[in-house]
Amino acid sequence: MFKTFAVTMLLCGAAQAADIDAILKKADSFRMLESSAQIETLVQTLKNGSPDKEKRYQVLVRPGGKALILFRSPGEAGQKVLMSGDDFWMFLPGSARPIRITPLQKLLGDASTGDIATMTWSGDYTGSVAGETTVDGVPCLELELSALRKSLSYQRVVLHVAKNDYRPLHADLYAASNRKLKQAYYVVEQREGRPQVTRMVLKDEVQTSRETVVNILSTRPRQFGDELFNAMYLSRNDVKP
């Protein structure tokens, strides 16, 4: 009897994990359809509701948690951040050498590179459906997610996805200390014949006067060579967009 109960509970747990994976993959598809892509972003920072800064980044993403962020704004053009799973490097054109950095050092810049480069949840987070609620009148599932890797910027995420199609609507983002760092709102619009996340609004919960808007200007499927995600390649030329 106990054995039957235990097997049933295990199967239920496995089924729920499978459900979460399917939900996260579907939610991911609104942010990035292709697993290997070039994404153009415009990041705007607001202070007390007024525009403060505006920066452009080109992000090259490949499966396996690999992302190369190319800084494109005046004053920081030529800088690069390479992310490969839990490993990070920074390149400053003045010193012409790739510098290995810790996960916390990658947060030192104006924008959190994790916000710009981490475009997916599946594979990085796991969890369960915690309940149902509404966000701006839309019936939602509330997902309680925890990071699978310590290097991720947010170790706990409470994600709200639409109940009917699992499109992301809102998320609460927490640090490892369980301190709430940011709230994220996702704007989904029709682009190239399909619904896509075109804008992500991040409200800072620590410095409450700050708000960051990550505009996804375009997403283009592209294949990249291995060398592009090798830290030693950072001192070579930039690839053509």
Partner: protein, 341 residues
């Protein structure tokens, strides 16, 4: 029809997948420097000030046949007279033999340290300069290959040169191997030159946890030279060693510590300890560091503040020299305004 085929064949190489991006970035800066001489110093140096403007242009051009041209040009005008225009980098890069060839003048830095870098055997620079201007590259012929987690670089620097007046102008053949092993980057370097004979070294950078990184370098030299009486003097076998760490907190406070031994340094300055603390707030960075030379009691303290808003950067630094390190100079102050385009 034949003409069309001929044109199509002629255009074929141009139609290959392009791999380099065209770009041009520029910056201009104005810098003021003030030096306070130590009263009664043996060289009778006096207090001095300097003001200069500096412009930098970095560009890359996607050339036909999978070539890429890169360059960094600078222009400088000193208010007390004298202007210079310099080609800091100019290189042609193209795929070759499963790797990439670089021919021209290029900056190539290799080591993992911040204040001291024993494995920078090709590129040598003044690493503790206050607000330094653009580095000048080394003429070279280089071939590099890249795997998913490894890389190899072979560099013939200053081709055709033997031993020059300054080490950076020496002809040499150098090899660097790189391997990425999870949380650790590992490097090995071998260099052959007429001045130092064989030099071999290794280094690593290891990320211990989310906030701490450890790094170390060691270079063995068959021969080395020491800077004495205003010239390089032969001094037998040599070695350079460095150990250091970085520690960063969630509140964006960071500490850097480094200790090193450099047998090619001036007597009494071979051993050094550096401690640097920095805090980052949104647009403002503040830092303070102390360099201590235990052999002669020399102390060099530096404080810096910078403010960055969009393309603008304002920074100011003040450095004080104490003990034996202050024999000639008591302090230096530098203020910079810079704009990127």
């Amino acid at each position: 029809m034949r003409l069309r085929h001929t044109l199509a064949l002629a255009m074929l190489p141009l139609a290959q997948q392009a791999w380099a991006d065209d770009y041009a970035y520029a910056s201009v800066r104005g810098q003021f420097e003030s030096r306070e001489a130590q009263p009664g110093n043996p060289l009778r140096m006096r207090d001095s000030t300097r003001l200069f403007e500096h412009a930098e242009l970095r560009w890359q051009l996607d050339a036909p046949l999978q070539n890429a041209l890169r360059g960094t040009f600078t222009a400088r005008h000193d208010r007390d007279g004298g202007s210079t225009i310099r080609i800091n980098e100019l290189s042609l890069e193209r795929p070759l033999g499963g790797g990439f060839l670089t021919a021209g003048k290029k900056v190539m830095s290799w080591d993992v340290g911040y204040a001291f870098r024993p494995l920078d055997v090709v590129q040598q620079e003044d690493r503790r300069a206050l607000n330094p201007v653009t580095l000048e590259g080394v003429p070279m012929l280089a071939w590099e290959s890249f795997g998913e987690d490894s890389a190899m670089t072979v560099v013939l620097s200053n081709p055709g040169h033997g031993r020059a007046d300054q080490p950076r102008d020496d002809g040499s053949l150098a090899l660097r191997l790189y391997r990425h092993r999870g949380e650790r980057d590992e490097y090995a370097v071998l260099r052959l030159s007429r001045r130092n004979g064989t030099e071999a070294g290794a280094s690593f950078s290891h990320v211990l946890n989310e906030g701490v990184e450890l790094h170390a370098s060691l270079l063995w030299q068959q021969r080395h030279e020491e800077w004495q009486r205003q010239r390089w003097q032969p001094a037998g076998r040599g070695a350079k060693a460095l150990a250091g760490f970085t520690w960063t907190t969630e509140s964006q406070f960071s500490v850097l510590g480094e200790a090193w031994v450099d047998r090619s340094a001036v007597s009494g300055q071979e051993r050094n300890l550096l401690l640097r603390a920095a805090q980052h707030w949104d647009t403002v960075d503040v830092s303070a560091d102390v360099l201590y030379q235990p052999q002669n009691g020399g102390r060099i303290g530096t404080m810096s503040i910078s403010w960055k808003q969009g393309p603008w950067l304002l920074s100011a630094s003040w450095r004080h020299y104490g003990g034996a390190a202050g024999a000639l100079t008591r302090s230096v102050a530098v203020a910079t305004i810079e704009r990127g385009f």
